[in-house]
Amino acid sequence: MRVGETAGSAERSEQRAAVRPDWGVGLVLLVVAAAAAARPLLDQLLDRPAVANWATVFVALAVQAMPFLVLGVVVSAVVAALVPAGFLPRVLPRRPAVAVPVAAAAGVALPGCECGSVPIAGRLVGQGAPAPAALAFLLSAPAINPVVLVATAVAFPGKPEVVLARFLASLVAAIVVGLVWAGRGRDDLLERARRRVSTEGRPLAVLVRTAQHDLLQAGGFLILGAAIAATLQTVVPRDVVDAVAGSGPLALLALAGLAVVMAICSEADAFVAASLTQFSLTARLGFMVVGPMVDVKLVAMQAGTFGRGFAVRFAPLTFAAAVASSAVIGWWLL
């Protein structure tokens, strides 16, 4: 029973509103009807090339992410429904030095892109898994799974060292972040992921309830992130990035920043990286390592799942670890 835990005056007033039957469904229909009434306006807006470009990128990001989000939500719900409470803390190694690398390596097993791993990592934390391990998994899964590695090999034909470098740099960055979080992280910031949907009741009821909750929450933040990414892509001129083309640390930072802004799916970023020929291989490695770990839509989703205070600390930490690990591995292998 979670009644009263966070119930405040806001919810009480919501409760009064809820006395009218179906206010929720009514409101949904109202929003759709209002949008329909505004249709001529939408049509006019889409006649402007910049707006049309924004809308296309926005919709593309959202549509592209849906299958992966659904996969993540379903896996997360199955974990909630079938894994008994207290099971994960019991079976997982307690020492971060063991748990973090194991969790990071386990990322190999989740084929998908970054949108799917956020709800899963949130669920793992909610089920009591050690936060550093869950976070290492969150970072590594979208970067080192077979689908992404194969895509990278296809995008860089005849250069297997790029695939190896991507695998190693992503794994190292995920482990470093996990260990840093184990040492200095503040688990109190993860409260949001801990206080989640109750797992009481029959498995099917839990399945539907958690899947529904995760889909709305992660999906809502995905939309927010997609809108930000589409705006940045439409507004920021690309010459800014091309101006620092070449090799050297500045190029690496520029492409890492581009990865944050573009928010491309990790299954496709290798193709974009391959086309950025004016940059060094190390800089392009940075693009592929940072992208699946830190980008605007991902940070929005992490903020939604774990809390804003968490995302504010976690994103810069991850960015720094990903850039550093790309620099070292790139210097060594590429």
Binding site: V74, P157, L216, V272
Partner: protein, 244 residues
């Protein structure tokens, strides 16, 4: 948000996904191969939303139809726990409304000069020399570019070819462009061919055209965009699959 609203939004999201996939409109936004995944995702989302709606309404019935039931009884409990968390789910209605009413177009000329260009020499494909005498050969803009760089276009062998893309410039000589996408429109990279030798008014920007013509070797042999000496420019409606 209350449970029924969440369910209704979810059903709408799934419906839009299904509609996008079944009408083929999804090809404006993501690569063709994602169709089956979108279909499965749409079905799962609809089932989930229906299940939520049914449960919410059933609980209401059980509790006497006052509407307050969503916040009482076991099923409703969790809404107190995360009532604020999933309020952000309302945002899902934004793309839903946009797609139900007006489907944004495929990427056009606006971002041609903004995105990364495709490195046509990245592939090591080799091409057979075209056989003359069988009318214009349809080919992708990518293949045209690759053939142009392969031995300076020797494999064209003077055979006329047919290219399809949209017009990227307002004035002649214009470029005809098509995007390559790896996953979705976000990673689109344009491939261009310069159209030379046209007379009269060139088609408007963003108009889809089919160009018939022959390969025109570069004057300088430099890095410039390959050119086609056009003998025919036909305006066509936007194709179902706008990307290469």
């Amino acid at each position: 948000m209350n449970r029924a609203a969440g369910g209704a939004i979810t059903v709408l999201v799934g419906t839009v996904l299904l509609r996008l996939t079944l009408t083929g409109t999804y090809r404006r936004y993501v690569r063709v191969g994602m169709g089956p995944f979108l279909l499965v995702a749409g079905v799962v989302v609809i089932v989930l939303g229906m299940a939520t709606l049914v449960r919410a309404l059933r609980d209401r019935e059980r509790d006497g139809g006052t509407g307050a039931e969503a916040y009482e009884g076991h099923e409703g409990d969790e809404e107190h726990g995360h009532g604020h968390d999933d309020r952000v789910g309302w945002l899902l209605l934004a793309p839903v409304a946009a797609l139900l009413l007006v489907a944004p177009p495929a990427l056009g000329s606006y971002s041609v000069d903004r995105g990364a260009a495709v490195d046509v020499r990245a592939g090591d494909s080799t091409f057979a020399t075209l056989e003359p005498g069988r009318g214009p050969v349809p080919m992708t803009l990518l293949e045209y570019n690759q053939r142009a760089f392969d031995h300076d276009g020797a494999t064209f062998n003077g055979v006329p070819v047919q290219l399809t893309g949209f017009v990227a410039d307002a004035e002649a000589p214009f470029r005809v462009v098509r995007y390559q996408i790896a996953c979705c429109a976000v990673d689109a990279a344009p491939i261009a061919v310069r159209v030379v030798g046209t007379t009269g008014d060139s088609p408007p920007r963003d108009q889809w055209v089919t160009i018939t013509g022959t390969f025109q070797p570069a004057a300088t042999g430099g890095d410039e965009i390959p050119a086609i000496a056009a003998t025919g420019v036909v305006e066509i409606p936007a194709p179902d699959d706008p990307y290469e």
